[in-house]
Symmetry: C2
Subunit: 283 residues, 2 copies
DNA sequence: TCAATAGTGTCTTTAAGACACTATGTT
DNA sequence: AACATAGTGTCTTAAAGACACTATTGA
């Protein structure tokens, strides 16, 4: 234990020091959190299909004032002095979606000088995943618009289309420009945040269990594969995928409603305990 | 392009808005950067050896005032209003070590409410790696002490020993307590930062090239293996390691001074271009 | 000469990928 | 009946690990 009675150069012990301490009147940046909220949604059936396909979507809000007025942005807000960064992220998340049961992880902190023309803002971005499909974006107190945007993350471009189809944001990864007549990129550096979030998801899919945070309690293996394919952006062999995923799930005695042959599974959080045992053994 | 002449609810265009904008007098947290600076150092020979072994070390400074007076801490400082987070990290790094040519990456942002008893401080931690072994810590203007600490990162405990052997910090990972009579843990939440940094290194070693940032321009394969072993905390089969590492290096016609059979290699930054080609092919 | 190290060769085990095949449910 | 999908079996290929062996150097 460190000795609280140690005295500093001015002869103060720690308590005296803290009482005498006045934070200087230095200029300070504002600190905010921004949250990328992802979930899945049933894809509109293009052909007659028996099983449903899913799509990835992200929640965006429309700015009502300068700067970037009328631009779409990632939801976020100021960090209160009495709340942790993560707490602030949870609070904002709840304010935007009324959802509480989510996967949440810190993504990155964006703090470039000019990222907000009004003032210096340091923003810590969080990544949230939820399995709920029935989330209605909450209209904010300032009557801001909030919409889900389907994420089409191709190799050449990223395309965001609002669920009603009225708003489209298109970004060309090669030319690094937003390239659609009626589309404008996201506000601030929010495009960077989104791209980093998608990248993080892609990377973490095959060495963590993030995919299951997007899936409901019970799911078919085909649905799980569908999620992996969406996040990885490529097709996966169904036989090989089944072999791998079976290590991570436990089967139920239930079957899917729409296709009775599809068995339902649930995620098994203990699946990697065995692997850890092996790991220790190796050492 | 977004139209700057759009007018908001008050009838302002963007320029008018920005000019009229006064950042509110909300309380704001202080924003700092902390930097974990790692490098290697020749291990003191315990037995007569022909080749030198390396150890990992981290730079710490000794606090001269409350809070955590006389505790060791990770170097860092306030972010100026006109510099990016990363710029601030570079600046602090140079102030502490006079080294500029380093690998630098953002680690995590620590922002819990009580982490600094004086005031609310949000700190973005950075991870720096340098290959230079001859770095003398710069004594700060406030005459603060700075020392390199050898990192012994075992499974049960983390032990930090200053190069002169006078300071020892020992942390028991299982009981989560600092467990040495004369040792006290690091200041603030800096132990968490250090542990996260070591974890990040361990994880990134085998899917990135961070290890080479700790190695000099020319190195033997044994030295490279030594670094991997230190960061991973386990022994590696030399034949298998050689097979893997040879993909990432190019050989020179030079040989080590101390043991003439040891061929010297240099890192080949283009080694993964081929792999990327394959990756695209797969898709 | 001897011990330590650099470096090679090869066998085994494991993981990943490709692909054909059967079975079942839906229309 | 025709078709889409669930689910299985098996072959091939690539990566990872284990380990014995030779060659060279420095003391």
């Amino acid at each position: 234990m460190r000795d609280k009675e140690l005295r500093n150069a001015k002869g103060q012990n720690e308590q005296e020091f803290l009482e005498a301490y006045k934070p200087g009147n230095y200029e300070r940046p504002s600190v905010t959190v921004d949250i990328l909220i992802f979930s899945l949604i049933d894809k509109k059936a293009e052909t007659k299909r028996t099983v449903s396909q899913k799509e990835l979507r992200v929640l965006l809000i429309k700015r009502k004032d300068h700067p970037f007025m009328h631009c779409w942005a990632i939801p976020g807000g100021f960090v209160n002095m009495d709340e942790n960064l993560e707490t602030a992220a949870y609070r904002e998340l709840k304010e935007e979606t009324n959802v509480e049961d989510v996967y949440l992880e810190q993504l990155y902190t964006f703090g470039n000088v000019g990222r907000d023309p009004r003032m210096r803002v340091i923003s810590t971005a969080y990544l949230a995943l939820t399995s709920q499909e029935d989330i209605e974006p909450v209209a904010g107190d300032d009557a801001k618009e909030a919409k889900w945007f389907i994420v089409q993350n191709g190799e050449q471009y990223l395309k965001l289309v609002s669920e009603d189809g009225k708003d489209v944001i298109c970004y060309d990864k090669t030319t690094k420009k937003d390239s659609l007549k009626d589309g404008s990129a996201l506000a601030f550096d929010h495009l960077d945040i989104l791209l980093m979030g998608l990248d993080r998801l892609k990377n973490k899919v095959d060495y963590t269990d993030v995919a299951f945070s997007l899936l409901p309690e019970l799911f078919t293996i085909t649905e799980a594969r569908n999620v992996y394919e969406i996040l990885l952006g490529k097709q996966i062999d169904k036989a090989n995928f089944r072999r791998e995923i079976k290590k991570k799930v436990i089967e139920t005695d239930q079957y899917a409603d729409d296709y009775k042959k599809s068995q339902l599974y649930r995620f098994n959080p203990c699946w990697n305990n065995k692997k850890k045992d092996n790991y220790i053994k190796v050492k």
